[in-house]
């Protein structure tokens, strides 16, 4: 009986096993490769697919203009195809595609620079130093931008500077003139102006605590001025800790601004747009921001007028080792090219983009890390920023630039607690340092 039953069961069981195996194979076939006509796994791509973060709205208009103009020939041979996904999902998506040999020819990556550096180390990215030299357009990329990329992404020129921003403090010129305030050159000058701005009924600094990074940028600004441009590199190298007294002092200086109410009463829940609007509607005297704010400053929403906006560098800290001429700079969330999908056709596109992106972007009011050699009339504040970039002697990064993803997240999400007194400067720096120590 037992034997008979077992015999009866064997065939269906074998059938079921075969079905499971077939299913697994089908799924495995679906999940691997990717490729398709966009050339995963080293195939020749039929289109120049560009996978980008949805939040980036500046790159596509320039690429579209190039596809319709200077790069029309390349576009006919290999049409540009832009796909967007939310920035929060980008790192995970790119990692997944990389391991499936499904990376498109061109993609944004490195929402956290440490993740971009990992892609480089694993051999997924094109070496632009080599490729652009071969294509004869290496001189079309600004050295300052290349230097920033090298500092961020593992020491190589492996991303393209579709954006190039410097950071500093934008201020309301009329308010400054009416109150007789000079542009601050030292931290103490800045505190004096902030106190008088508060007395005048203004929010001294518009800042988004919801985003967090506009506040931590102030911590790193203070660190670069007090300890020098290598302050955060030392932390990344393990030669210093954020919990060292001189580092905690920087966090305490920014916490002090919050304690005095210089960010306004609701900084913790103020979002980026609301903070920008606070400045652009004349309610705030100053805002720390990057040159990407130029779009808003030159836009229709600016109620104080573009001519009324000035810009000054993060002030010096008395006795500090840093120089006021060292600008915090960044390249936004830049795009790169896949090493395995780099074919002759993709090379033609890369050559055309590199040669023409700077001029086309400038026509659209964007300052990038590509050389723009055609004269364009810029609004005054944009010209000021362009001049500052041209005369900058050195650049520094920002607070989270060299952090791992977890430390970066903890830094941004706890910044509001720091300036509202919900955690102490020591606690803030300890939280971030602990995340760094986890590796």
């Amino acid at each position: 009986m037992f034997t008979a039953e077992r015999r009866r069961l064997r065939k269906p069981l074998l059938g079921a096993a075969a079905l499971v195996s077939a299913g697994v194979l089908v799924l495995a076939g679906c999940s691997g490769g990717g490729g398709g006509n966009n050339g995963g796994g080293g195939e020749d791509p039929a289109t120049l697919e560009f996978l980008k973060n949805a939040e980036n709205t500046t790159t596509q208009p320039v690429l579209d203009a190039l596809a319709a103009g200077a790069c029309e020939t390349q576009n006919e041979a290999m049409p540009l195809e832009v796909n967007s996904i939310p920035q929060a999902e980008l790192d995970a998506q790119v990692q997944l595609l990389a391991t499936q040999d499904g990376l498109p020819p061109m993609f944004s990556a490195g929402g956290n620079p440490a993740e971009g550096a990992k892609l480089w180390e694993a051999g997924y990215l094109l070496d632009f130093d080599e490729a652009l030299t071969e294509l004869g357009v290496r001189d079309k990329v600004a050295e300052g931008a290349v230097s920033t990329i090298e500092k961020l992404y593992g020491g190589a020129f492996n991303f393209l500077p579709f954006q190039y921003n410097i950071e500093g403090i934008f201020y309301n010129k009329t308010v400054f003139e009416e109150n007789g305030w000079e542009v601050p050159e030292t931290w103490d000058d800045l505190l004096t102006v902030a106190a008088e701005a508060q007395d005048a009924g203004l929010t001294p600094f518009a800042a988004s605590g919801e985003q967090g990074w506009p506040l931590t940028r102030l911590v790193s600004g203070y660190l670069f001025r007090s300890l020098g441009p290598d302050a955060l590199q030392k932390v990344a190298d393990g030669d210093a800790k954020l919990t060292d007294p001189e580092y905690v002092e920087a966090a305490a200086a920014i916490a002090d601004l919050g304690e005095k109410g210089y960010f306004g009463s609701n900084v913790a829940s103020l979002d980026y747009d609301a903070a920008s609007n606070e400045f652009l509607t004349g309610k705030a005297a100053m805002i720390y921001m990057g040159s990407w704010l130029l779009g808003n400053i030159n836009g229709d929403g600016n109620q104080i007028g573009a001519d009324n906006v000035g810009f000054f560098k993060f002030p010096a800290v008395d006795g500090g080792a840093g120089s006021i001429d060292e600008y915090p700079s960044n390249v936004g969330l830049p795009a790169t090219f896949g090493a395995k999908t780099y074919t002759e056709g993709v090379g033609e596109w890369l050559k055309c983009i590199t040669a023409n992106y700077g001029n086309e972007a400038l026509k659209q009011g964007q300052i990038t890390g590509f050389i723009a050699d055609e004269p364009v009339d810029l609004p005054p504040i944009s010209q000021t920023i362009a001049d500052e970039i041209a005369t900058a002697t050195d650049s520094v990064l920002w607070f989270e630039a060299l952090f791992n993803a977890k430390a970066s997240n903890i830094s941004s999400t706890n910044a509001a607690l720091l300036v509202t007194g919900q955690i102490t400067p020591e606690e803030f720096m300890t939280l971030v340092q602990d995340a760094l120590d986890e590796g």
Partner: protein, 293 residues
């Protein structure tokens, strides 16, 4: 029919497609995820076996502790509100409003069908304090109180999350429990009334015992749903400020997908699974004990 269901071959043949799908999309990923708990790394850098390190890390990780207590606090409070208010609504529908309850039921149920993100944006605006006051702060200011930065501190943000999630889900529990109350035979209630049972004793000795099965089901639904809360918190506060409103699900998501630590993320997921299992077993056990009394 009997001969088909008595035939093992036929049983296997009928079960195989469902079993295959279940195995491929549930069982294998679950086992895969469990296997990942013994590894560290990610798809780019590769995975490395690290034994039970993820589990020891789980015990000492302050972020897990905070997320665990937040999840537990949230689950208990929201479940109580959801089920108790839902029960109250169901009683209102069944014994007070009766046939005219349709409009009220529809209105109270309406938030259930709204997208969570839309509700979160609505509540952000309601409790806004910057750059302009929302409706709640306007009311506070109008009665002489000062404006509160509700989402700027952990305690007040928690209150907003609870209010929002109870508001958006209580209609579901109202209807769910109402469907249970409909099963109580009218003649039993009438008999009790004739025997002199007043409102409270009618509730205590007839309605409550007879609605216990649906109440237990509601508790299981609610506690499992609230332990796994993610979308509403993510959309309303993003887990902040700091990590003060970060539930385990959000910490798991960040660990695995933002910090690229899939092994530890899977370990946090396992903790969540165990929590859901314990709570469900506990409620089932309580339910069985009650039925045997």
């Amino acid at each position: 029919m009997k001969s088909v269901l008595g035939d093992r071959k036929a049983i296997m043949l009928l079960l195989t497609p469902a079993l295959l799908v279940y195995t491929l999309i549930i069982l294998i990923p679950v086992l895969w995820s469990f296997g990942l708990t013994f590894f560290t790394g990610n798809v780019l850098t590769g995975f490395e076996f690290n034994g039970i390190e993820n589990f020891t890390r789980l015990l000492t990780d302050p972020y897990v502790h905070d997320a665990f207590w937040f999840t537990l606090k949230y689950a208990v409070i929201v479940t109580l509100f959801q089920v108790v208010l839902g029960y109250g609504l169901a009683m209102l529908y069944q014994f007070v409003l009766r046939r005219s309850s349709v409009i009220v039921r529809t209105l109270v149920f309406f938030p259930v069908v709204l997208p969570t993100v839309a509700i979160a944006i609505l509540y952000q605006k309601l409790f806004q304090s910057a750059p302009t006051d929302g409706l709640v702060n306007e009311l506070l200011v109008n009665v002489g109180l000062s404006s509160v930065d509700w989402l700027g501190a952990g305690d007040t943000a928690f209150i907003v999350i609870v209010i929002m999630d109870v508001w958006r889900s209580v209609g579901f529990y109202g209807v769910l429990i109402f469907s249970g109350l409909l099963d109580i035979p009218e003649d039993i209630i009438e008999s009790a009334r004739i025997d002199g049972a007043k409102t409270f004793s009618l509730f205590r000795y007839i309605v409550l015992p007879m609605s216990l099965p649906i109440l237990f089901a509601s508790f299981i639904f609610s506690i499992n749903g609230t332990i796994k809360v993610f979308d509403s918190v993510f959309a309303l506060t993003g887990g902040g400020p700091g990590n003060s409103t970060t539930p385990l699900t959000l910490y798991m998501y960040r660990t695995a997908f933002q910090f690229s630590d899939f092994g530890y993320g899977s370990t946090i997921a396992l903790l969540l699974t165990v929590m859901c299992l314990i709570v469900t077993l506990f409620i089932f056990k309580s339910s069985r004990r009650d039925n045997t009394v």
